[in-house]
C-alpha cells in the first residue's frame, strides 16, 4: 500500500509542475500566473447491518491556473498534466482573460510579502496511508455493531463509514513563490436508527450520529465508543415533540455552536465587506457580541484539522483575532479583498482548483469560558438545548436568522424531554450580544470549534397556545 504514501518526492513533482505551468503561461502572454496543483487519494468503506455496503478507492490529480493580464483575469482547470495539454491550457486561458474587463485591484501580491519559509505543521500521518480497505471495513463494522448491541431499541442503521483522504498541495506564482505540503485525515461516523412508537397512530423513525476524525490515526476515538455514543444520541430523541411558541433561553451544544461561529465568519470577512453583503460592514473595532465572545482563526496549530503553512495567495499564514471580547477585529482578508478595502491581507486566502482566491478560515475557534457545561445548564431554569439545526435561514445582509431546531427541553437546569419541529429566530446581532454564558468544554475536533454557550433569549416557534 506504500504506493499511496504522499512523499516529499510527490510534493516536489507537483511543485515542479506548478512552476512549469507558471512559465508556460508567461510565455503564452500572461503578465502574471498562479498555479495550484492537487494530488489526492480517497478511501471510503461503509458497512450497513454488519455487511459491507460500499468500498470506494481512487486517486486523482488536478491543476488550476489563474492568469492576470493588464488587470484582466481568467481561471481554468484540467486533470491533464501532459506538457502539450498545459501549453494549450495556457494559451486558452490568456485568450479568455482578454475578454474580461480590467480591474485595477486584480494584481498579484507584492513579492516581498510572499512566504519564504514553509513551516512543518505535522499535518500528515503515514499510518493513515497504510490503512487497507479490509481494516477500514472492520473498524466501521465494530462501530456499528457497538451501536446496535448497546440497546435493543436500535432496530436499524444508516450504516457506519470509515474514510480517509490523503493529499498533496503545491502552489507556484510568477512573483516567485513555490511551495507545497501534504496532509492526511481519517474519520469514522456511525448512524444508528430506531423506531419511535410514542404515538402508535403515527410511528416515526429517529436517527442520530456520532463521529471521530483526526489527521492522525492514533488520535481517533475507539470505534466502539463512537458507536455507543451514536446510539445514546439516537435513543435520546425518542418521543420528540413540539413545545409551545415562546421566547426563552437557547443553549447551543458544541456540535451546533460551531456552526454559529462559522456564521460569524460568513459576515466578518473582506469579501462580504467590500461587497457590502454583511450586516457588520463599518463595525470593526466596535462591540458586535457579548464580552464573553472571543473568536480566533489560527492556521498554525500543529496537527490542526484546518491548519495551513501558507495561504492561497502564497502569503505566510498567521493567527488572527476575529472577535476579541466582543469587539470585531479587522476582518479576514485575502490580497484582493484587502486591496478593495484599502488594507493588507491577513494571510487568510483560500483557493480552489477552478476559482479565484477569497478569504477562508483555517482553525476558527471560539475560546472556552469558565463555567462547566453542568453549571451552565444548572443556571438555566427553562429553555431549549439545541443539538441540531436545519435549513438555510440566515440573511447575511440583514442578519435575520430563522432555522429549524431539534434538541431537549431544559427544566430547572436539567435536560428533560426531546424536542423537534420547532424553529428558533432572532436577528444575528441580538444573538451574539445575548450570549451570557460560555462553558469550558472546548475540544478542537473540527476546523471550526466552539464550546457550549447560552443565548439569553430567542423566539422559539412551535405549537400555538
Amino acid at each position: 500500500m506504500s504506493g499511496l504514501q504522499v512523499t516529499e518526492q510527490t510534493i516536489k513533482e507537483l511543485c515542479d509542475a506548478a512552476a512549469l505551468t507558471v512559465e508556460l503561461a508567461k510565455k503564452a502572454g500572461a503578465d502574471d500566473a498562479e498555479v495550484l496543483v492537487r494530488d489526492g487519494s480517497e478511501l471510503t468503506a461503509k458497512v450497513r447491518l454488519g455487511e459491507p455496503e460500499l468500498v470506494q478507492e481512487a486517486t486523482s490529480r488536478a491543476l488550476g491556473l489563474r492568469v492576470l493580464r493588464g488587470g484582466r483575469r481568467a481561471v481554468t482547470y484540467t486533470s491533464d498534466l501532459r506538457r502539450e495539454a498545459l501549453e494549450a491550457l495556457c494559451a486558452e486561458t490568456v485568450a479568455l482573460a482578454d475578454l474580461a474587463e480590467p480591474d485595477e485591484y486584480a494584481l498579484p501580491p507584492d513579492p516581498a510579502l510572499l512566504a519564504k519559509h514553509i513551516p512543518d505543521l505535522d499535518l500528515y500521518d503515514p499510518r493513515v496511508a497504510e490503512v487497507e480497505a479490509s481494516w477500514a471495513l472492520r473498524e466501521a463494522k465494530n462501530g456499528e455493531a457497538a451501536a446496535r448491541r448497546s440497546d435493543p431499541r436500535i432496530t436499524n442503521s444508516e450504516g457506519a463509514t470509515w474514510s480517509r483522504v490523503l493529499g498533496a498541495t503545491a502552489f507556484a506564482t510568477s512573483g516567485g513563490f513555490v511551495g507545497g505540503y501534504r496532509g492526511s485525515y481519517a474519520s469514522l461516523v456511525v448512524e444508528p436508527l430506531c423506531d419511535d412508537m410514542t404515538d402508535p397512530g403515527n410511528p416515526k423513525k429517529r436517527n442520530g450520529y456520532w463521529w471521530t476524525g483526526s489527521r492522525f490515526l492514533d488520535q481517533l476515538e475507539v470505534a466502539e465508543a463512537v458507536g455507543i455514543e451514536a446510539a445514546r444520541r439516537t435513543l435520546a430523541t425518542i418521543g420528540s415533540k413540539k413545545v409551545e411558541t415562546q421566547e426563552c433561553p437557547i443553549v447551543f451544544d458544541p456540535e451546533i455552536a460551531r456552526s454559529i461561529v462559522g456564521t460569524v465568519f460568513s459576515v466578518a470577512n473582506g469579501s462580504s465587506f467590500w461587497r457590502k453583503s454583511s450586516y457588520l460592514v463599518g463595525r470593526e473595532g466596535t462591540a458586535i457580541a457579548s464580552p464573553l465572545v472571543t473568536i480566533i482563526d489560527d492556521p498554525l496549530i500543529p496537527r490542526g484539522p484546518g491548519s495551513r503553512p501558507f495561504d492561497g495567495d502564497g502569503l505566510p499564514t498567521r493567527k488572527n483575532m476575529v472577535v476579541d471580547k466582543g469587539v470585531l477585529g479587522p476582518v479576514l482578508c485575502d490580497v484582493y479583498s484587502g486591496r478593495k478595502l484599502g488594507r493588507a491581507s491577513t494571510g487568510s486566502a483560500g483557493r480552489g482548483i477552478g476559482g479565484n482566491p477569497g478569504p477562508t478560515t483555517s482553525n476558527l475557534i471560539m475560546e472556552a469560558g469558565t463555567v462547566s457545561r453542568e453549571e451552565l445548564l444548572r443556571q438555566t431554569d427553562r429553555g431549549l438545548y439545541v443539538t441540531s439545526l436545519m435549513g438555510f435561514g440566515f440573511n447575511p445582509v440583514t442578519g435575520d436568522f430563522s432555522r429549524g431546531a431539534q434538541g431537549f427541553w431544559i427544566e430547572k437546569g436539567e435536560l428533560t424531554f426531546p424536542v423537534s419541529e420547532v424553529t428558533i429566530a432572532a436577528n444575528f446581532d441580538q444573538i451574539l450580544k445575548r450570549i451570557d454564558l460560555v462553558a469550558n468544554d472546548l475540544v478542537l475536533r473540527s476546523s471550526t470549534a466552539a464550546p457550549t454557550f447560552r443565548v439569553s433569549h430567542m423566539m422559539l416557534a412551535g405549537t400555538s397556545k
Binding site: 481554468t76 436517527n207 477552478g354 438555510f392 424553529t423
Partner: protein, 486 residues
C-alpha cells in the same frame, strides 16, 4: 441533442473517432476484469464535461472560467455491496487498475468467463438544443450579463450592488453494463443568476432572480426569460424587501405561490420516496405503498421527460431512459423512485432515477423534475380564503430529515395575508413541518400549475445533481412559521 452541432473540442475523447475511443470490445475487456473477482454486476461510466462561467460585478466582467473534466467510474456489485473506483486517465493500465480495484468488493467469489453482447439502449430526446451556448462566442454571453446588470440598476436608484453570473456546461456520457446495455447521451445545461442589494436609509436588503435548464441561447428569446427580466426581478425583490417587517411565530395557514414552492414538495415528500431509503427501511414512507399519505387533492409526479427542464434526463446514469413516474395519486402512495439496486430489491423495473454527480460517485435514486399537479381552486380564491397567514413567494432552499420526516424551507420573499389580501412583506423566515403531516393539510390546490425556471441543485450524500420542481398555488391549513413576533 444531435452531435453534429458540436465542434470536435466539445466532443469526448472516448466517443467514436475520438483520441481514446472506447468500443464494445474494449468495454468487454474492462467489464471482464471488473467481474474477475466474482462480482455479479459491473458498469463503466465514461464522462467528459466542458464547463464555462462568467461573472459580472461592479458593472465589470470580472472573471471568466473554463474547465474540462474527463474520467471513468467503474462499479461492481455483489449482492447489496458496491465496489467503486475511478480514474482520470484513460490509459489502458489505469482503467484496468480501476476495474480490478472496484472488483475487490467480491474478492473470493470466483471468476467466470465473461463476454457480453453490448446493445445500444434506445435514447429518447428531451433536450434537442439547436445551438448549445458553449458554441456561441463568449462576447454574446457577456452582453447578457451587461443587459441584466443594466436592467437591475435601472429598476430603482436604491439598487447599490448587482452581481450577474452565467454558467454553462456540456456533459457527454458513455455507459456500458455487464447485463449488455450500452448508452450514450450529451447533456447541455446552463444557469443564469442575478443578485441585487438595495439600500435605503441605512437599511439593506437583497434579492435574486435567474433561471435556465437544458437549453441553448434560445432560452433568452422568451420575454419573461430574457436577461433584463432576470435583472429586474432581482431588483424588484430587493426593493420590496426594504419594507419587510418581522415575521410572525407559530402555527398558521400558509399559501405557497406556484412554481418555486415545489421546493417544499421536494423536501417534504420527494426525498422520503427515493427507494434507497425505503429499501433500507430508513424512511418514514417505508412500507406505506397503497396507503394514504397526503390529502385527496395531492397527485405528485417525478417526470424526467419535461422538455428542456433542468432535471430532464434522456437516459439516467445507469442506462435507463428518463420516465414520468407517479409517486402519489389522489393522496395515495403508489410508487418510489428507483435506481438499479432498489428496483432489483423491490422486483420492479427501474424508473430512470439512478443519477450521479460525476464519474467519481456511484449512482443513487434521485429526483428529476418533481411536481404537485394542478387542483380545482382559483389562486385568488385561495388567498381570499385566508384571514391571517403567510404567502410564500420565493425560497432560498430547504432540508429534510428522512427518518422522521421533519423538513424546513427558507423563505426569501413572503408576505403577510390579512383578511384575504397580501399586505406587508416579511423578513426572511423558515417554515418547519413534518412531511406526511403537512401533505395531509393541503386543503386547497390551485388550477395554476407552474414549472419553476430551472435554478435548483439537490444535494444528497455529498453528490449534487440539477433538478427542477413545480406546483400550483397551494394552501396548507397549518404549519409552523419561524418568525419572531407572537
Amino acid at each position: 441533442m444531435t452531435t453534429t452541432t458540436l465542434p470536435p473540442t466539445l466532443r469526448a475523447p472516448f466517443s467514436a473517432g475520438g483520441a481514446s475511443a472506447i468500443d464494445a470490445q474494449l468495454a468487454n475487456r474492462l467489464l471482464s476484469l471488473a467481474l474477475d473477482a466474482g462480482g455479479d454486476y459491473a458498469d463503466l461510466y465514461f464522462e467528459f464535461r466542458v464547463s464555462a462561467d462568467y461573472v459580472l460585478e461592479e458593472e465589470q466582467v470580472r472573471t471568466l472560467g473554463r474547465g474540462i473534466t474527463l474520467g471513468l467510474g467503474v462499479r461492481v456489485t455483489k449482492g447489496d455491496a458496491t465496489g467503486y473506483a475511478y480514474t482520470e486517465d484513460l490509459a489502458w493500465e489505469k482503467m484496468a487498475h480501476a476495474a480490478r480495484t472496484a472488483g475487490q468488493i467480491a474478492a473470493g467469489g470466483g471468476a467466470k468467463p465473461f463476454n457480453v453482447d453490448l446493445q445500444s439502449v434506445p435514447t429518447p430526446q428531451f433536450y434537442a438544443v439547436p445551438q448549445p451556448s458553449l458554441v456561441v462566442p463568449a462576447v454574446d454571453k457577456l452582453a447578457l450579463l451587461r443587459a441584466a446588470d443594466k436592467a437591475a440598476r435601472a429598476f430603482d436608484p436604491r439598487i447599490v450592488k448587482v452581481q450577474v453570473s452565467f454558467a454553462e456546461s456540456i456533459k457527454e456520457v458513455l455507459l456500458f453494463t455487464s447485463d449488455g446495455r450500452m448508452a450514450t447521451d450529451i447533456q447541455p445545461i446552463m444557469r443564469f443568476g442575478v443578485s441585487a442589494v438595495a439600500e435605503d436609509n441605512g437599511k439593506r436588503q437583497s434579492g435574486s432572480g435567474g433561471g435556465g435548464g437544458r437549453y441553448g441561447m434560445e432560452y433568452f428569446k422568451q420575454a419573461e426569460r430574457d436577461a433584463a427580466a432576470h435583472g429586474k426581478e432581482a431588483a424588484r425583490v430587493a426593493i420590496a424587501m426594504l419594507d419587510a417587517v418581522d415575521a410572525p411565530a407559530g402555527e398558521m395557514t400558509v399559501v405557497l405561490a406556484p412554481g418555486d414552492s415545489g421546493i417544499l414538495l421536494h423536501e417534504a415528500v420527494g426525498h422520503g420516496l427515493e427507494a434507497d431509503f425505503n429499501r433500507k427501511q430508513t424512511s418514514n414512507y417505508s412500507g406505506q405503498i397503497g396507503k394514504k399519505v397526503a390529502s385527496d387533492l395531492c397527485t405528485v409526479v417525478d417526470d424526467g421527460t419535461i422538455e428542456g427542464s433542468r432535471g430532464a434526463i434522456n437516459v439516467d446514469d445507469e442506462g435507463y431512459a428518463g420516465q414520468n413516474n407517479v409517486l402519489i395519486e389522489n393522496g395515495v402512495l403508489v410508487g418510489y423512485m428507483h435506481d438499479r439496486l432498489s428496483a432489483k430489491h423491490f422486483g420492479i423495473k427501474p424508473t430512470g432515477n439512478g443519477r450521479r454527480e460525476s464519474f467519481r460517485s456511484m449512482p443513487l435514486p434521485r429526483m428529476t423534475n418533481t411536481s404537485l399537479l394542478a387542483g380545482p381552486h382559483g389562486p385568488d380564491e385561495i388567498i381570499k380564503s385566508v384571514k391571517r397567514g403567510v404567502y410564500a413567494k420565493r425560497f432560498s432552499g430547504g432540508q429534510v430529515n428522512i427518518s422522521n420526516g421533519d423538513f424546513v424551507f427558507s423563505l426569501s420573499e413572503s408576505y403577510l395575508i390579512e383578511d384575504g389580501k397580501l399586505t406587508s412583506p416579511l423578513k426572511g423566515v423558515n417554515l418547519i413541518g413534518n412531511g406526511p403531516d403537512v401533505l395531509r393539510r393541503v386543503d386547497m390546490l390551485g388550477s395554476d400549475y407552474q414549472l419553476s425556471d430551472g435554478i435548483w441543485t439537490c444535494g444528497k450524500d455529498g453528490q449534487s445533481v440539477p433538478v427542477n420542481v413545480g406546483t400550483p398555488t397551494v394552501r396548507i391549513s397549518s404549519i409552523t412559521v419561524g418568525g419572531t413576533q407572537v
